[in-house]
Amino acid sequence: MKSRLILSLIAAAGLLTGCLPSKSVEENAIVQIAGYDKGEEKRIQGTVAIPQYGKSEKKTAASEMYLTVNADSIKDVEKEIQKHSSKPISTGKLAVTLYSKELAEAGISDIIDVLSRDARLSRNMFLGLVDGSAKKLIESGYSQDETTSKHIQGLIENNTRHNFPDTSLHKFLYAYYGHGMDPFLPVLSQQETFVELSGIAFFKQGTAVATIPDSEVFTFKMLKENFKRGMQDVPFKGGTIMMDNIGSVVDYKMTGTVDNPEFNIRIKVKAEVNEMVGVEEKATPALAGEMEEAFVKYFTDHADEMIKMFKENDVDPLGLGNFAKTRKRDFDLDKWHDNYSELSINVKIEVDITEYGIFS
């Protein structure tokens, strides 16, 4: 009796729940990149690229199908795209989402909210801003054997290993929802035949408020996280020298009271110099010492300027507020925001040139 009951329960479980509609992978339209632009009259223009895999096993030119729709909301974009597609849309493999700068400057809080709620989306997805039109960026092919999504995904992933700070949907949401820190996103811009990462945009509550150009990104990454690669050119004695970072360590220290805190940011950089252009001197240990001084001055100036810019725009991408909150018991976020523009932040940089190459 008991076993029969259990058996019928198992059978019921199988028969009643086993009717999940399912589609095999090739019967889905797998969206890998999506871009959002500002449409007419407060509407959103969404563009997606769906890779088209050939029937033959030969992987020749990668082809993609581009769909652009106008919709009222992000979910509406999905609905509208469904209308254009012969296969059900699957967003699980979405790897890159791009927003036009225009849209971001008007605020993308609603869009971010959708991303954070959809369990199908990967937290490793890259977000980015487009200087110009996201539609145009997606629709111009860049490489014969790569799809646009793969190209842009590779572009961001490769650069976060060098000069660009680490970025992903997870990091963005962490900074977005965290108290006392603000998110940032890489900015992509389309040149004639290629896309390049042209800087970083800083957000305040889902609105892009400031950007830094490509040349400042190294300094920002140095302030933000420890890293082991990356290059920066620095003017030196009428020429330029190229610094090759081989290990940079950053350390935040907080002193003072809650109401009047003082931050000391210490950065230790180990570097190699392998190229000097327009410098008329021979590379000697003495010259290396001068170079170190030049680097320290350059980075200190730029870091101070950047922090000044953060204060002016009232953004905190370094997460100093969060840092203070985790260390002080009676931290008050409102007070922090009021005092942020007068916060004293000292940046101290040490550069150690370990090598300047072998020459005869």
Partner: protein, 503 residues
């Protein structure tokens, strides 16, 4: 409505003895007289007596060389005289009908002074036809002993005894099977084995109610703790060396006359993945090969269910670089992944069955025809995808890596419930099946000892010879599982003593 549940239990008829038993000696001889190969005649020379034997199983040379000349030379009047004069060992005089029946059927020569006499003389003249001891074919190993059991019980016991000349090696014999009366031997080392285990085995053997006992696998199924389990709960092996090493560990071996496989018990699930090769190789190599085998088994069971689950429900799990390969190879196929997998799995099972039933030479051809011709044709015809073909072929290959054939069959079968789960609920279904099977394994017992032993219950000591094989000097104790009377294999202090200075 519920009538079908309340089936009236009819008192079952007293089961009739299937084989008619003879009541008297003359009935017995009469019954045998129906067979053409039964010889029964009276000697009327110097000695008056009747000689009966079955010529197909009796050794006629004993009769003509040693028995008949003596009977013709001397005139005997009593059986005792015959017993003394006939130059054959172990001649019996008895009037017990059971014993007479058993012995005559076994090939003894029966001699009566008078046909009406109840007391008879039984001269052993057994002629045993058996295959010569040959190379193990199921559990072949490159290094190590190359002997395998044969179908004769005496030869098999001989193979074990000569590897362990120990008076404590005990052999107990029982007759099992109502009609076949098969000899079943229980072998153990007294003083090491736990007597509880011996009791369990003998009791279960005695309780077997069946008419025939053709092979040792009958015993496996009948004395198993859970006869409905797909997992074999007694380990069968054809290698005498493996049997001896398990006996030394404190296990019990069961040999069945007519079967070239010995059973050892109690056993654990990890033992099925250990080959005798593992002990002939250095311990690190052996451990790696064991882990490879374990991985192969997991791969064999899970590869196709995972393929079905991922392609049907979890597209996100396919790496981006693999996506074009999978999608373009699947795009021509008219079936959903589950049908595709079932078609290919069945094709492989067909090949395997066909290969197993055919003679070796044709079997090889079938393998090539099946593997290459059917495989490529199926892909060209758009019935299966290339990716799946590789996965299924690798899965089939991996299932052959188990050293014990019986568990290989289990692995072959249990991937189908996993496939069903994968199709119904995706990865959740696969994990549900996994939970079910692991739960089953945890509950399973072998002769009352836990089958999933070094893992559940956790026995750190027994893990030394489970997934990895520790070197011999680390294995100082016999497995805890057997509860042996003498748990120490050797003296630890003498093993660890350093003898690097010659004194």
């Amino acid at each position: 409505m519920w009538n079908w549940k309340r089936k009236e239990k009819k008192p079952s008829k007293k089961q009739e003895q299937t084989a008619k038993k003879s009541d008297t000696l003359s009935d017995f001889i009469k019954a045998l007289g129906n067979s053409e190969d039964f010889v029964h005649y009276s000697l009327s020379g110097t000695t008056h007596c009747t000689v009966s034997y079955i010529k197909t199983i009796s050794d006629l040379e004993t009769l003509t060389r040693h028995v008949l000349p003596v009977l013709n030379d001397i005139s005997f009047y009593t059986l005792e005289e015959m017993q003394q004069k006939i130059p054959v060992e172990h001649i019996l005089i008895t009037d017990k009908l059971d014993l007479i029946q058993e012995k005559v059927m076994f090939g003894y020569i029966l001699i009566q002074l008078n046909e009406k006499d109840k007391e008879v003389l039984l001269i052993p003249a057994v002629s045993l036809q058996s295959r010569a001891v040959s190379i193990p074919e199921v559990e072949f190993s490159v290094v190590g002993p190359k002997e395998a059991f044969v179908e004769t019980l005496n030869t098999n016991i001989n193979l074990i005894r000569k590897r362990m000349p120990l008076p404590q090696l005990t052999v107990k014999e029982y007759n099992v099977g109502k009609i076949t009366n098969t000899r079943v031997a229980v072998i153990y080392v007294d003083g090491i084995v736990d007597q509880d285990n011996v009791e369990t085995v003998t009791q279960r053997l005695k309780d077997i109610e069946y008419d025939q006992m053709i092979d040792s696998s009958f015993v496996t199924q009948m004395i198993a703790d859970n006869s409905n389990s797909p997992f074999p709960q007694l380990l069968d092996t054809e290698r005498p060396d493996r049997v001896v090493s398990t006996l030394v560990e404190g296990k019990i071996a069961i040999l069945v006359d007519g079967s070239p496989h010995a059973l050892t018990c109690p056993t654990t699930v990890v033992e099925f993945f250990g080959a005798s090769d593992d002990y002939f190789l250095p311990w690190h190599l052996a451990s790696v090969f064991r882990l490879i085998r374990l991985f192969a088994v997991i791969f064999s069971v899970l590869s196709t269910p995972l393929y079905v689950a991922v392609l049907t429900y979890h597209h996100e799990m396919i790496p981006a670089d693999l996506m074009p390969t999978i999608v373009s190879s699947r795009s021509d196929i008219p079936f959903p992944p589950i049908l595709e997998v079932i078609v290919l799995e069945l094709a492989i099972e067909l090949l395997r069955e066909a290969g197993a039933r055919l003679p070796t030479k044709i079997g090889q051809t079938i393998g090539i025809v099946g593997g290459i011709v059917i495989g490529t044709a199926a892909v060209d015809a758009g019935l299966t995808s290339n990716v799946l073909l590789i996965i299924v072929a690798l899965g089939a290959l991996a299932s052959f890596t188990t050293p014990v054939y019986q568990i290989g069959n289990t692995i072959r079968l249990i991937r189908f419930p996993f496939l069903l789960g994968a199709q119904l609920w995706g990865l959740i279904g696969v994990s549900m099946c996994m939970v079910y099977f692991i739960g089953h394994l945890i509950k399973l017992q072998s002769i009352g000892r836990p089958f999933f032993e070094p893992l559940y219950p956790m026995r750190i000591n027994d893990l030394k010879d489970a997934f990895i094989r520790m070197p011999f000097n680390k294995q100082t104790e016999r497995p805890v599982l057997m509860r042996t009377e003498d748990p120490k294999r050797m003296n630890q202090s003498r093993v660890n003593a350093k003898r690097d200075i010659d004194e």
